[in-house]
Amino acid sequence: MSPFASWSGGFGAIFLSLVVLIAVLAPWLSPYDPLVNNFDAAGQLRRLAPPSAAHLLGTTYYGLDVLSQLIHGTRIVLIVGITCAVLIALIGTNIGLIAGYYGGRVDTVLMRATDLAFGVPFIPFAVVLVALLGPSLWNTIIAISFLMWRSTARVIRSQVLSLRERGFVKAARIAGASDMRILYVHIFPNVLPMALLYVSFDIAWAVLAEASISFLGFGDPHQTSWGQMLYLAYVSGSIRQAWWWTVPPGAALSLFVIAVFLVGREYERLANPRLR
């Protein structure tokens, strides 16, 4: 048995490993500093230079090297993806565990909070929050994590509702186990596969959300994210002429999201024997 039963899962895994490798080696891989303007021999800013040997993916309106920006963008993707996924998993899993296990009023309160989180439209909320707190990468991450725990919480809760009726949970209760022990030693490991699946999807959603916020101009101006690149291409009015500026970040984003979903699906196949 190969670890990946399908080519799609293998492709996703290879693509993601590549992104991680590029992010780690970004300073050595990128030919230019992504935030330093490039000038030609005559001292003129290299505005919107098409791809050439010197700039493999051309330059931006501001004379920045697109390839270097793309390479450094992988770091933002990983920081946003992983931090958000961890925060979402922490909040969502715990809310789901507590609501499902205790039931009653605790469940009602937590689930109404979840409904509320579902009711809030994401982009306007994030835009308002970032506008209030100021545009920075961390504020973007907080805005994303603050709402996106909702689906994880619901799914984990429904799993806990069935797990807590299982004999091994009752046996632990009868033996005198504390609620903490039952929740985190007995129930949590059994919802972990599902939580991890949602983490993988959360990574993809968080990266897309960061790109959306950046594209709307509320991103961190000191970082080069893929969404930020698309935003600058748009506001500089060059989105129609400089395909080398827009296609690489757009394609990279799409491929990243697809790769995460493919790996997530593969993981689900492996973790859930019923799908085999």
């Binding site: 299982r166 004999g167 091994f168 009752k170 046996a171 632990a172 209760r173 009868i174 033996a175 005198g176 186990a177 504390s178 022990r181 007995h186 490991p189 059994n190």
Partner: protein
């Protein structure tokens, strides 16, 4: 002699809120049940689904709290909330051997967990006690099972792991809730004999909950038949099986299929199937009872002696006795 378990007039009511507005209906799942079990003895509680037998099991192990009456284990009454002492003195074996063991725990983790919860002994002592419990549950050598996972075990072996977990604390009371009904026929006898031996060789008492009257004889000393939250007949197991008095017990026994094709099945009275809900204040079995008379609608019978250690809740038990 001090009793391992004594239950006095235990009651449990549930409020089932079925409608969106207005009050719910009250369900008397257990409606005044009393019994005692001596150390080293087994009481079987038999009944159909909805008779309240599972609620009794949950009350005995403290998963649910009684709404009335008293439950005492080893002479100590269960207070408002089960404390650590109570938790140590009652354990349970469940019906489903696949759901009752954490799939992510090794056998050693599962069996040793009660010791860990009660902080008994050093890790080495806990390990030794878990191995000893597995040996006692006839998973031999116990050491060889410690690092295995449930999915590597058969249903019968899992049930033995569950039994080892239940006896590792040396409880005063073991509650076995249909412990063999989900196992293959060919391994049932082994589990029943194991439970029987564990109880009779120790000071532990057992309550054996079942819907299957044909297996009670191989484990139980006494048998109680439950109907709608009450014991309707209670006595020595062979006495009840071979000389049942209560019409409901008789119907239950007659309905058990006999593995002998040359014997024609005993026909059941038609009224047993068609009967409706009981009348308040009367015998709860009267609407389905072919021996019922007018008085049965007005007198709610209590358990009365009908033989040595044998009691029946039927006002006509003397007339209809075999």
């Amino acid at each position: 002699m001090s009793m391992a378990v004594s239950v006095t007039d235990a009651r449990k009511t549930f409020v089932a809120s079925r409608r969106l507005f207005g009050g719910g209906t009250t369900v008397h799942a257990v409606d005044g049940v009393s019994f005692t079990i001596a150390p080293g003895r087994v009481l079987g509680i038999a009944g159909e689904s909805g008779s309240g037998k599972s609620t009794i099991a949950n009350l005995l192990v403290g998963l649910e709290l009684p709404t009335g009456g008293e439950i005492a284990v080893g002479g100590r009454p269960l207070g408002r909330k089960p404390d650590a002492d109570f938790r140590r003195s009652v354990q349970m074996v469940f019906q489903d051997p696949f759901g009752s063991i954490n799939p992510r725990f090794t056998v050693g983790d599962t069996v040793g967990e009660p010791l860990l919860i009660h902080r008994l002994g050093s890790p080495a002592e806990r390990h030794a006690r878990a191995v000893a419990a597995l040996d006692e549950a006839e998973l031999r050598p116990g050491e060889a099972f410690m690092d295995r996972y449930p999915h590597e075990l058969s249903g019968g072996q899992r049930q033995r792991v569950a039994i080892a977990r239940a006896i590792v604390l040396r409880p005063r009371l073991l509650v076995a809730d249909e412990p063999v009904s989900m196992l293959d026929v060919s391994v049932r006898a082994g589990i029943l004999r194991l439970l029987n031996r564990l109880v009779h060789e120790s000071e532990m008492a057992m309550v054996f909950i079942t819907h299957d009257l044909s297996i009670v004889a191989s484990v139980c000393d006494e048998l109680a038949v439950m109907y709608r939250g009450r014991f309707v007949e209670h006595g020595p197991v062979r006495d009840v099986l071979q000389r049942p008095v209560h019409p409901y017990t008789r119907a239950l026994i007659a309905a058990v299929p006999v593995p002998d094709p040359t014997v024609a099945p005993t026909p059941l009275p038609a009224k047993l199937m068609s009967g409706g809900a009981p009348v308040a204040g009367g015998c709860r079995f009267a609407p389905r009872c072919s021996a019922a008379v007018a008085e049965c609608e007005t007198i709610d019978p209590v358990l009365e002696p009908a033989g040595p250690a044998h009691s029946v809740a039927c006002i006509r038990h003397k007339e209809i006795a075999p």
